[in-house]
Amino acid sequence: MLEINNLSVTYNSNKNKVKALGPVSMEIKEGEIYAIIGPSGCGKSTLLNVLSGIIQNYEGKVLLNNEVLNPKRHSIGFIPQNFGLFPWKTVEKNYMLSLDIKKKAIDRNIADRIDYVLDKLNIQSLKDRYPNELSGGQKQRVSIARSFIMNPDLLLMDEPFSALDALTREEAQELFIGLWNQYKITTLFVTHSIEEAIFMGKKIVIISHCPGTIVKTIDNPLFNTEDLREKEDYLKLSSYLRGIIKKGWTL
Amino acid sequence: SPSNTGESTDKKTLNFGAMSSVDVIPMVIANEKGFYKEEGLDINLQIFKSAQDRDAAFQAGSLDGIIGDEVAICLYQNADFDVKILGNTDGDFMLVAGAQSGIKSMKDIKGKKVAISEKTVIENTLDVLLEKNSLTPEDVVKTVIPAMPTRLEMLRTNNVDAALLPEPFSTLAIKDGGILLGSAGSLSTFPSVTAFTQQAIDAKSDEIKAFYRAYDKAVDYINNTPVSEFEDIIIKAVGYPEDMKGQIVLPKLRKNTLPAESEIQAVIDWAKKKGIIQKDLNPKDMTYDINVK
C-alpha cells in the first residue's frame, strides 16, 4: 500500500522558489491502478518523481508498505514519457537493467516470469537490437517489460503512451492492461487523455492548476471494458470529466 | 698534472648543451672517441635544434655549461645569471652575398637586405664588419630570420641580398655561388665560447677540468687526422648535410684558451650601445680561468 500524506514540493531555481505541488494526500491500495489527470505544469511529473525517488527534497510523508519510500529498499518501476531506455544498451540489457541494478540472481521463478513477459509483449526477437533501431511502440513494450520483469512494489508511468500514434497507442494500452491483469502491480500513471484515464484507471485523480492539489478522485466502473469507447456510460463519464476541464480543472 | 683518473670518488655527471653547429665537433669527437671516459668524466651531451631551447634548458638548470657566444653571455650576466666564459671555440660567422644580388664586395652592400638573427652574435658580427668597412649598421636593411636553414634559403632564392651565417650554412651558400664578404674569423675575433654557470664551476670543478682536457685531446685528434675518418660522426651529430660528404673542411682548431678581454669589452660596448643590456659589465667578471694545465 502507498500512503501519501500532505506531500508538497517546492523547487529552488535561480534563487526564487516555485511551489510545484501540494499539499497532496492519497492512499493507493495494493493491486490498484490510479490514473492522474491535470493541467499542464500542475505537478504531475513532480509527484511521480517524488514517488520514484528521483526527487528527495519534499515535505510530507510517503510510505510504501508501511516504510518510508526509498528506491534502494523498495522496488519501484518507472516509465517516463520517452520510455527511459538507454540508447547504448541492447534491448536485452535494457530490460534486464532492473535485475542488474538490484543484483538479483535469476532463479527459476524469475526466468519464467521473464519468458512470460517477453512473450506477451512479443519482443523476444528484438533482444540484440539497440533502442534506436526500434519503432516507438517497440520501445514502449521494452520499457514495460523492464518494469514487469522486476515485479515492483510500485509502478509509475508518466504519460506512457503519449508519444505513440493512435493505432499503436491502443495496441500498447491493451497489451499493458493484459499484463497488469496478470500481475496486479500497484500502479499510478499520469495521462493527458480522458480516454486513456477511463480505459486504464480503476480510479481517476483530477489535479488542479499549479501547485497541484487533488480536486476529486473518481471511481471508474468502466475500467478495462472491452469496446469501451462505444459504451453509453463512457460518453457520460468522459463528458463529466471534460466539464471539469472546461471549468479550469475545478468542480 | 693531477689527473683524476682512477679516483672513483663520487663523480658527478656534467650536463653540456650546444646547438648543432661546427663548434660542437670537438665535444662530439671526444664523446665518440672515448676521451671523456679516459678522463673519468661522465658527460651528458645535449644537442639542441634552436638557441631558445638551449637557453631555456640552461636557465632551467638542466645544463651546467653550453656552447654560446659572447653576446649571449653578456645577456646572461645582464640578467644576473652568473655564467662564466671558460674557453673559446673556433666557430665562425660569415657574411655571404647572394649570387644574383649584384654585391661583389663590402662596398656594394649599402642599402641591401641582410638576413640576420637579432640581438645575437650574428647581428654583432654584421655590425662589426660594417664598421670595419667604414659603414654604419643603418646602411643596410636588417631582415630578421632566426632559423638558419630559412636564412640560407632566403639567400638562395634572392629574397635577401646577403646573410650572416655560421658553418656549415655559409659553405653551402658559397657553393651556390654566394660571395664571401667577410667573417668574424677574418677579424681575428672568435665570438663563440664555452661557458659554465658559476654554480657548476664551484660544484664540479674537477669535472669541468676533465672536460677541457678531453676537449684538447679532441682538438689534437682532429688537427692530426684526415676529416674522412670521422666525417660520418660529425655528419650524424652536427647536422651537416649529407651531400657535403667528402667536402667538409675544418679550420685549424685551437686548444682551449680564454678570449681576449678587449674582444669581450668590444662586445659589451656594442650590446650596451644597442640597449640590449643595461648593466655595466666587466670582462674580468665574465671569464674564469679553470687552469687545466
Partner: protein, 246 residues
Amino acid sequence: MKKAIKKISIFLQGFLMINILWYLLAYVVKLRVLPSPIEVYLNIGQYSENLYANVLASLYRVAAGIGISLILGVSIGLLMAYSRLWNKILNPFVYFSYPVPKTALLPIIMLLFGLGDVSKIMIIVLILVFQIIVSVRDAVLNIPSDTYGPIKSLGASIFQRFAHVTIPAILPELLTSIRLSIGTALSILFFAEGYGTQKGIGYFILDAWVRIDYKGMYLGIIVLSILGFMLFIAIDILEETLCKWK
C-alpha cells in the same frame, strides 16, 4: 569497420590529390625547398629503418601524453560536473589557462621536468588537458537530467549511475575530443622533440630541416600525416566497437 574502410579510401584519394597538387606546385615554383613528391619517394630507402624507430618514439610520447591528459582531464572534468563547489573553484582557472600560449612555457616545463621524455609528455599534457576537461564537463552537464530517472528509481548507487549512464553517455564526445587531441599532439611534437632527444618524427623533421635535407623533411611530414591518420582510424574503430548503438 565499414566507416574505417570508407575513411581509408577518402584518405587515399586525398593523398593522391595532395601529391598531384604538390607535384604541380613543385613543377611551377622549381625551388629547392619544394622538391617534387617523386624525388621524395625515390629517396625513401635511405631513411626507412631510421623512420621506424622515430615513429615508435613519437608514438610513445603522443600515447603517453594523450593517456595522461585523458586520466587527468576526465577526472577533473567529472569532478567539475558533479561538484558545484569544485566547478566554481576550477572554472576560472581553466577559463584563464585556455588561451595562454603554452609553448611559451617551455622554460618552466624544462625547469620542472628536465629535458627527458617527461617534459615532452608534460607539454603535450599541458596543451591537451584543458580542452579535455572542458569537453568532459560539458558533456556530463549536457546529459539531460531525466536520463538518470529510470536508474535512480531503481535505487542505483552513484557508482552504478556512473557506469550505466554517465560514461556511456559521454563516450562519443570523449572520442571526438581524443580525435582532436591527436591532431594537436602531433603538431606539438615539433616543439617537444627539438631538444633532449635524437629520436622521434618531430626530431626527424627538424633535423632534416637543419641539414637542408628537404626530401627528408617532406618525407617526415608525410609520415607524420600518415601517423595522424592511422591514429584517427584507430579511434574510428574504437568508436565503432564501443559505440555500437550509434
